[in-house]
């Protein structure tokens, strides 16, 4: 199990009902973690429309998560 901080923005923040949480998980990749959280919280965005960032850098969905990482799932952006 790794202990992570997950931050939520925009539609994910609203669907989760909070902006940040600490959690322990057996997931070792962003993809696995997103599926776990999506099942638990009913996120409407499918995994293929969400990017991941770890410690404020974009990472691939199959990157390895490490204890203490701060993970952000990034819904489709819409600046401007």
């Amino acid at each position: 199990m790794t202990t992570l901080t997950v931050q939520y923005f925009a539609i994910l923040r609203e669907q989760r009902g909070l902006a940040q949480e600490k959690l322990s998980t057996a997931a070792t990749t962003p993809a696995a973690l997103y599926e776990e959280l999506r099942a638990r919280h009913g996120f409407t965005l499918p995994a293929d429309r969400v990017r991941a960032a770890v410690n404020d850098e974009f990472v691939s969905a199959t990157a390895t998560l490490r204890d203490g990482d701060r993970v952000v799932f990034i819904p489709p952006v819409a600046g401007g």
Partner: protein, 148 residues
Amino acid sequence: MPFRLSPNPIDSGALQRSLADVRAGACVTFEGWVRNRNEGQPVFALDYEAYSLLAEKEGARIIAEACEKFSVNSAECIHRTGHLALGELAVWVGVTAEHRGAAFDACRYIIDEAKARVPIWKKEHYASGATAWINCATRGDHAGEKRT
């Protein structure tokens, strides 16, 4: 900083004056304004939410790419966050260059890439009272992909 987020209204006149440069022959600016309708629906107001740390990094990378690809003298981009009313300035891009071609190309590159890559999200408030996170609709929602 060439890319910034601002929770306060953007003073585009002051930004453009700050680009003054006697070595530049051309200045191209892009302003994104809050429009009163999107995809046929009357829009009442907007909220922009940003993942600030990564937005600033990715924005700075985009500006650096533009400076590498095109012969520009300077380039800046500022994006609003928070609640915006109709007509408000949401994003400002300003580029100076010796020649106009580079200024146009760099300005367009910056806004195109920023819209596609910078982690900022837009929530539209409709006259009906409904809201929607743009580009985040899934099957069953009525709102599709949007472009400004």
